[in-house]
């Protein structure tokens, strides 16, 4: 079939029609609704009686005092009123319903290893938030902790950062110094009342800038956990909440709790270190929260208040670390790192469960990794940490952040606030999602936290330490991971008993300070 050619005239005509159509369509845009209403009032004639008194002048002739009867006429006028209504136009302005908030989608990305946690965040908390804020859609992503950091950083590099993300508090300053996260002071000031029960909000403060960059979602601290049967068999009473054991008391007790296969204790003649049946103390040297408590207990620090200089060269710090190492190599009440790795091969909580260790400074968090009480024939108890020169333990939090590049910071902030203020969500983040204590202190009561299905059944020691201010926050800084790796490598030379702690602390100070100096220079922070 032959097609008719497109002539210039046809083209122009088509263009004209198209333009007209576009104009007409453009006229159909969104307008304010002004409704003209013609109100026609229909009335019925209703007789209305009105009494009108007619006053008529009367001539009064008084000639004699003979009364003359005069007829008085009273006229009654019945007024018939006809109301003629004119049609009048009443303009009624109908105000449209308030404009619905613009639909927004935010992306939240959290690290998590536990599948129950992942499901919980995705299915429950987000659904609850979206029900409360129908105009906000939450798209969430959970990444295993091991892959978290590289993934987040590559997303930041690609300018595709999630609106909200979670991080360890200790690495926050590094992100702040690089301008990756948004300062939240204005939001926090505006909603101060709402987040008043989140005292750990201060953990989201950046020491260097003095601004808030994070909203705490949880608290993770250490307390002393123990195998109750072992303590009972040794006739040892756990320390009461208000009176932590001193180092000396602890040493005395763990010595009793440590014995070899022949039942001899450290210090006894013939004690066989290679065949220890049960260790009283148990130390880990591969995570900072378990390395530094003795430093804090001895009034030491690992970094100064300005987070600029390492402080491993402080006498108190060195003495704290020395006391720790002495538990392994002088008092022989704790396994060395090699033995520790062997004991722990059954998992993070294994030392208490497999009957190899009696006491263990343990993090509250990752609750689902603990065994069900019904699966054990003994209790795992908990008590407050130790006191060298002061009662102390280590503590850190997870912070929620808004990416600086977020297109929806307001909604991102709303989401974060919801997680800590919606009591059910905040509580379940603790009980179901394994993130340590909820940030909301209103929930820090045994009744609110509810019966735990896993060990430790009593978390009072953790709450008590927090209440008493015995929890010492880990010193954060702009180069945290690199700084930590640098000093830990040097510390391990002494925790593996290859050199004395006095030599190690010199190296720890030197190597970690080098990292800080370089990073401050790189970031031009001075």
């Amino acid at each position: 079939m032959r097609k008719s050619p497109i002539t210039r005239r046809r083209l122009l005509a088509a263009g004209f029609v198209g333009t007209a159509a576009a104009a007409a369509l453009a006229g159909c845009g969104e307008t304010q609704i002004v409704e003209k209403e013609v109100v026609k009032v229909v009335t019925q004639e209703v007789p209305v009686e009105r009494v009108v008194t007619q006053i008529v002048e009367k001539a009064k002739v008084v000639e004699k005092e003979v009364p003359v009867e005069v007829q008085k006429v009273v006229t009654q006028i019945v007024e018939k009123e006809t109301i003629v209504e004119k049609e009048k136009i009443v303009e009624k302005v109908v105000t449209a319903a308030p404009m619905a908030p613009k639909a927004v989608t935010i992306e939240v990305s959290f690290p998590a290893n536990n599948p129950a946690n992942i499901d919980y965040i995705k299915n429950t908390v987000n659904a609850r938030f979206m029900a409360a804020n129908p105009h906000i859609t939450v798209e969430s992503e959970t990444v295993p902790w091991g892959e978290w950091s590289p993934k987040l950083r590559t997303r930041l590099a690609a300018d595709e950062a999630p609106d909200v993300f979670l991080n360890d508090e200790i690495i926050m300053p590094g992100y702040v110094a690089r301008g990756a996260i948004l300062a939240l002071d204005e939001f926090a000031k505006r909603d101060a009342e709402q987040i008043a029960n989140v005292p750990m909000l201060d953990r989201g403060m950046d020491n260097r800038t003095g601004k808030r960059y994070g909203l705490s979602r949880n608290a993770i601290g250490t307390a002393m956990t123990y195998n109750a049967r072992m303590l009972e068999e040794a006739g040892i009473e756990p320390a009461p909440l208000n009176s932590p054991w001193t180092w000396d008391e602890y040493l005395e007790n763990v010595r009793v709790l440590t014995f070899d296969t022949s039942g001899r204790h450290p210090g006894d003649a013939g004690f066989d270190l290679d065949n220890v049946e049960q260790w009283g103390a148990y130390l880990r040297d591969n995570w900072v929260t378990q390395i530094v408590p003795t430093v804090y207990q001895n009034d030491g620090e690992i970094i100064d208040a300005q987070a600029r200089n390492s402080t491993f060269n402080l006498a108190e710090t060195e003495a704290g670390l020395k006391w720790r190492n002495d538990l392994m190599y002088v008092h022989m009440v704790a396994p060395d790192p090699d033995e520790t790795a062997a004991i722990e091969s059954g998992g993070y909580h294994a030392p208490l469960i497999n009957g190899r260790a009696a006491m263990y400074e343990h993090l509250l968090g990752q609750e689902s990794h603990w065994p069900d009480p019904a699966s054990l024939d003994f209790e795992i108890g908990s008590m407050v940490g130790l006191s060298g020169t002061r009662p102390s333990n280590s503590f850190f939090s997870h912070q929620m952040h808004v990416a600086k590049s977020s297109a929806h910071p307001e909604e991102a902030w709303m989401y974060m606030v919801f997680q800590v203020t919606d009591e059910q969500s905040a509580l379940e983040i603790y009980t179901k999602a394994d993130y340590g204590l909820p940030a909301n202190t209103k929930l820090w009561t045994p009744s609110a936290l509810g019966a735990r299905s896993q060990y430790p059944t009593s978390i009072d020691p953790w709450l008590h330490e927090l209440d008493q201010g015995w929890m010492n926050g880990l010193g954060t800084n702009v180069a945290w991971v690199e700084w930590y790796v640098a000093w830990r490598a040097e510390y391990q030379e002494s925790s593996f008993n290859r050199r004395p702690i006095s030599e190690s602390v010199v190296k720890m100070q030197e190597e970690s300070q080098k990292v800080l100096d370089r990073v401050f220079k790189d970031l031009q922070l001075e």
Binding site: S149, P150, R153, T154, L156, A157, G174, Y175, R178, G179, A180, D274, N286, P337, D338, E339, A341, A342, S345, A479, V481, E482, V485, A486, A489, E490, Q492, E493, F496, R498, E511, D522
Partner: protein, 316 residues
């Protein structure tokens, strides 16, 4: 009927024909067409090569001269990252550990796998089963096997249990002194299967008549191996050495999973150091510089191997 090749009126009227000219035209057009088609078919690969291989290589080279933390704009540093790489305690430890690993892993894995291949080249009962058995670690997940070996190296693990059976003292397999050796042991175990397959291919490619000739000359088993098998396998030795060196410079999974580079820096390898610097410490520029330093080291070693082949590799 016109007879082919006899010409005809039309051909005669067109004047003399140069048969080569038409052929050239035909061939020329075809060659161009073929080249175009060839290029077109290669295009997806070329695009991939340019965008995802050459691009990152060039980008990494440029980044290696900068201070780049993935968040802020890169800042030009010149050779600072390279000079730091030569003086930084951690990186020096990583280079030393990697060198040690290469020196021990490559020869030991090649020798053990060759012996294994010779054994499995015989006609013995259940040969397929044994070959499969030795090849299994190759197809197993690197992370899973590393976790498995962590348990084996445990102070209370299988290895020390075996030592104990023989009345020997337990070894700190993952302590400062032994940790890197333990990683080499694990890597050798894991790499045996694939090396064995290469060797088997090589062994089965040795011409039988050479063995027969050696037998006629009175050569025994050892003489045949020494004077026939080994020379004939030298091209394989070269290939496996080059691949082994390149691969072992990149060792990562074992040290990342089993020891995390520790204790101290005892098992910190170059690849792990690059990963840590780039993805844990915001130091992409430094990581890129380390990657190029590693490349340079691999390149130099490979060139030496390539150059030295004329002295010992026998091509038939």
């Amino acid at each position: 009927m016109q007879v082919r090749g006899s010409g005809g009126a039309a051909a005669a009227s067109a004047g003399p024909v140069n048969p080569l000219r038409g052929l050239r035209q035909f061939l020329g057009r075809n060659i161009i067409q073929e080249q175009l088609w060839g290029l077109l078919l290669m295009l997806p690969y070329l695009i991939n090569l340019l965008l995802f291989t050459a691009g990152p290589i060039i980008a990494a080279f440029l980044i290696s001269f900068t201070n780049y933390d993935l968040i802020r704009r890169p800042e030009w540093l010149g050779f600072e990252n390279y000079t730091l790489g030569a003086t930084d305690k951690q990186t020096i430890a990583a280079f030393k550990n990697t060198g040690y690993y290469v020196l021990w892993y490559v020869p030991s894995s090649m020798i053990i796998s060759l012996l294994l291949a010779i054994g499995l080249n015989e006609r013995i009962r259940g040969i397929t089963f044994y070959r499969t058995l030795f090849f299994l670690p190759v197809v197993a997940s690197g992370v899973a096997t590393a976790l498995l070996w962590r348990f084996i190296f445990n102070k209370r693990g299988v290895l020390n249990w075996v030592l104990d059976l023989f009345g020997l003292d337990a070894v700190q397999w993952l302590g400062f002194e032994m940790a890197l050796n333990s990683i080499i042991i694990m890597s050798v175990w894991q790499g045996l299967g694939i090396l064995m397959m290469y060797w088997l291919a090589g062994l089965q490619g040795v011409p039988q008549h050479l063995y027969e000739a050696a037998e006629i000359d009175g050569g025994g088993r050892w003489a045949k191996f020494r004077h026939v098998t080994v020379p004939m396998l030298t091209p394989f030795v070269l290939l496996l050495m080059i691949l082994g060196v390149i691969g072992s410079f990149q060792v990562f999974t074992a040290s990342y999973i089993i020891t995390g580079g520790g204790p101290g820096y005892a098992t910190l390898t170059l690849a792990l150091q690059i990963y840590r610097m780039g993805f844990e410490n915001f130091r992409m520029g430094y990581a890129a510089a380390l990657a190029y330093m590693m490349f340079l080291a691999v390149f130099i070693v490979t060139m030496i191997q390539w150059w030295a082949q004329k002295y010992w590799v026998h091509y038939e």
